[in-house]
């Protein structure tokens, strides 16, 4: 690409055959109300937005605004997740319901969780569900651990994006294992999106500087004291991290190297 900016259409993120002009993907959980959700998503500039599927509360708050009215599917790519699924069967069932809910839309975020405390992915169940979903025609973006071998296996199964965690979901601990993320990125032929664990803007920038294709986050924005301001900070961090990656950082040196010329000193 040319030496301009990365956030122009010249550097799109391609997910499942569709180009996106933003590399920040956001969730819709944990906001104080629908209006804050809407404003934060707008400030983030994200186009791919995750939602969860739950039983409709029959008879309760019939006039409560519907999330899909706040983030309309004609303006955003809705990415239904399988959050809360602890086995492959339930995750697959949830994705099929999502496809019906969204009129045949087949892009899903697969997560099969193994444990309540860590929310770490159950990898064997994730592999099983991914195989079923890919065979069923879904475009699967898959949440996984930062294990490079598993990331490659998920790619080989046919997932359209592999999404390793930076740290446990909702922990905000930042990228705990940058070398694994780097290895995953270097081996990948599908987009690698850090999903979970980012806490603040510098974490998002680090992910992008490592060469990740994008970052998916929820709590880092929704859990900030000022979520809308943090959404804007994250947008900039993703853009600057991406540009820094494309620019190629200077080599690290142990000792100083003067920026001003040595020649022509007055004494």
């Amino acid at each position: 690409m040319s030496e301009t900016t990365a956030n122009s259409n010249k550097d799109p993120l391609n997910i499942g055959g569709v180009d996106y002009d933003t590399r920040l993907l956001v969730g819709t959980g944990k906001y104080k109300d629908m209006e804050e959700t809407r404003l934060a998503i707008e400030a983030s500039g994200a186009k791919i937005v995750t939602v969860a599927l739950r039983r409709t509360n029959i008879g309760q708050n019939p006039d409560e605004p519907n999330l899909l009215e706040v983030i309309p599917p004609d303006r955003y790519t809705i990415l239904p997740n399988t959050a809360g699924c602890f086995d492959a069967k339930t995750a697959v069932r949830t994705c099929r319901l999502a496809r019906e809910l969204l009129d045949g839309h087949d892009l899903v975020k697969l997560e099969v969780l193994g444990d309540e405390q860590t929310l770490y992915p159950d990898i064997t169940a994730t592999l099983e569900a991914a195989e079923t979903l890919v065979a069923d025609g879904f475009k699967v973006m898959v949440y996984t651990s930062d294990d490079p071998l598993i990331a490659k296996r998920l790619e080989n199964i046919g997932c359209v994006a592999v999404m390793p965690l930076a740290a446990p979901i909702g922990s905000g601990l930042g990228i705990r294992n940058p070398y694994n993320i780097l290895t995953i990125v270097e081996n990948a032929e599908v987009p690698i999106i850090v999903d979970a664990g980012v806490g603040t803007a510098s974490d998002a920038a680090v992910a992008m500087e490592l060469g990740c294709d994008g970052v998916l986050m929820n709590t880092a924005i929704a859990g900030a004291k000022k979520p809308i301001l943090m959404a804007s900070a994250m947008k900039k961090a993703i853009e600057s991290g991406r540009e820094a990656f494309l620019a190629g950082r200077m080599p690290r040196k142990r000792f100083a190297s003067a920026s001003s010329p040595i020649d022509g000193l007055i004494i």
Binding site: V51, I58, N66, L101
Partner: protein, 66 residues
């Protein structure tokens, strides 16, 4: 007859269709998905699909999530 709706028992007139059920619930105009006995009922079949005694019905919608 009785069905299980989102995990709770609900009385319904015999042979009610899915459309009758969601209309009675006041959610017919909402964006939702319906599953009966773990099988998805496409929106196009809400009128013709009739519920049976003891059907396990799930009605789901999108909520905030990450």
């Amino acid at each position: 007859m009785n069905i299980q709706l989102n995990g709770e028992s609900k009385a319904l007139s015999a042979n009610a269709s899915v459309m009758q059920l969601i209309t009675e619930l006041g959610v017919a105009d909402k964006r939702l998905a319906v599953e009966i006995n773990e099988e998805i009922i496409p929106r196009s079949r809400y009128e013709q699909h009739c519920l049976q005694q003891d059907d396990q019905v799930e009605i789901i919608h999108a909520v905030g999530g990450g």
